[in-house]
Each structure stands twice: as structure tokens, then as C-alpha cells.
């Protein structure tokens, strides 16, 4: 498949599903922090978890990636996770 077309389809799918990122996430471990990044471009980070004291940065990062990639595989829009009424959402 044409790469541009594949990327466009991923974006469209993520929009239809309401997912935040079109494509899987990955974890990048550095000396000071752990980053959750786009798997297709590991310089392109979304969240930084500082390695500091007792904070389980690696556990948080891997959990986030596992949850998101699993949602992506299953096409899970996350509607069942919404804990607040629709009126409390921006598009509610």
C-alpha cells in the first residue's frame, strides 16, 4: 500500500474512532526520563515521565503504551470508559 495513503487512512480511522494518535505508541528510555513516543518516529514524544525518587516512571510509560496499543488493535473508542456525563465533554 502507498505509504501516504496508509498514513491518511490511519488518520481517518483515528478520527472516526476518536483516538488521539493515528498509530501505535512506544517507550523510549533515557537517563533522566522515560518518554512515550509515536512508534513511527521515536523523536516525536507525547508524554515525559521523570525518573525521580520513588516515582515508577517505567511502569507508567509501559502501561500507557500497552493500553493505547491494545485500544488501537481493538478499535476501542473508549466510550465505555467515560466516567462523566456527555455534557461534561467539550463536544457534549
Amino acid at each position: 500500500m502507498n505509504v501516504d495513503r496508509e498514513a491518511a487512512e490511519q488518520i481517518l480511522l483515528s478520527q472516526v474512532l476518536g483516538l488521539a494518535v493515528a498509530g501505535p505508541l512506544a517507550v523510549v528510555d533515557t537517563e533522566a526520563a522515560i518518554f512515550v513516543v509515536l512508534a513511527e518516529d521515536q523523536q516525536d514524544w507525547l508524554v515525559r515521565f521523570e525518573k525521580d525518587g520513588q516515582f515508577p516512571a517505567a511502569e507508567w510509560a509501559h502501561h500507557m503504551v500497552d493500553v493505547y496499543n491494545d485500544r488501537l488493535r481493538r478499535g476501542d473508542t473508549g466510550d465505555r470508559w467515560q466516567a462523566r456525563p456527555p455534557g461534561m465533554h467539550l463536544d457534549g
Partner: protein, 140 residues
């Protein structure tokens, strides 16, 4: 007018090209994002929340590190309560109008810094936001 009510439409933003590997995207005209308002926009392969906090613009990824919910999609910007030894454990209201609340499980983030209030070791990325010809732009 309730600023949240004026910015409810989420939609794709238009790429304005850019130089090198940086990509720029149109968000909306400045008059469509008043102080206290925010919008959700698609910028390339991700959703962003773009905020106007007291006249300053900020953009954060619309994903919560907790359970990957839509962190920026809470309807209102609020503040937070804190208490500590320095306040003799008397609660004080801080960051008024600067805090977004993930609508899934209520994790709070300070929009200007991207920091999670409950877990300060966690920071969302802040994207560069600027205005060009009365159009709010974001650069990835």
C-alpha cells in the same frame, strides 16, 4: 458567552506546510478562541487540545497517560485545591482557569506547563503555538 460553548466543534486543521521536518497547522481564527476557551483539533497524525489561558495559547496532546483518555476534552478549564505544611494544611485555590480535567477519570493537568497535578513527574508535551495573520497556528 460561555467560551466553552463557542469552541465545541472538533475538526481537522489544515496543514500550512513549513520548513524542514517541522509542520505547521491552522487551528482557528483568533476570534474563535477567546480566553478560557479551548478546541480539539487534528494535527497530522494526532489530536491536540489548543487552549487560550488569559490570552496565552497552549497546545497539548489529547491523551491522558493514565488510561489514554481524551485528556483535553473536559468541557471547562478550572483551578485546583492544594494544602500543605506551608499553608498550615488550610486548602487554597490555585491555578484558577489554568487546569484541564480528563473527562474519563478526573486527572488534572496544569495547561501552561503540561504538568499533571497529582503526579508532577508526568508532563504532557507542549507544542509551539503562534498567531499568523489572525490565525492561530500550531507547529509539531
Amino acid at each position: 458567552m460561555d467560551p466553552a460553548e463557542s469552541t465545541v466543534e472538533a475538526g481537522a486543521v489544515k496543514s500550512a506546510g513549513g520548513t524542514g521536518s517541522a509542520r505547521e497547522f491552522e487551528v482557528c481564527p483568533v476570534d474563535q478562541l477567546p480566553p478560557g476557551g479551548h478546541v480539539i483539533r487534528q494535527a497530522g497524525n494526532r489530536q491536540l487540545g489548543v487552549f487560550n489561558v488569559d490570552g496565552e495559547y497552549y497546545a497539548l496532546p489529547n491523551i491522558c497517560p493514565h488510561q489514554t483518555g481524551p485528556a483535553c476534552q473536559g468541557k471547562y478549564l478550572v483551578g485546583a485545591v492544594r494544602a500543605g505544611e506551608d499553608t498550615d494544611w488550610i486548602p487554597e485555590w490555585i491555578f484558577d482557569g489554568q487546569v484541564m480535567v480528563c473527562p474519563w477519570h478526573g486527572l488534572e493537568y496544569h495547561v501552561p506547563t503540561g504538568k499533571c497535578l497529582a503526579f508532577p513527574n508526568i508532563s504532557l508535551r507542549r507544542y509551539h503555538v503562534f498567531v499568523r495573520d489572525d490565525m492561530i497556528m500550531v507547529r509539531l
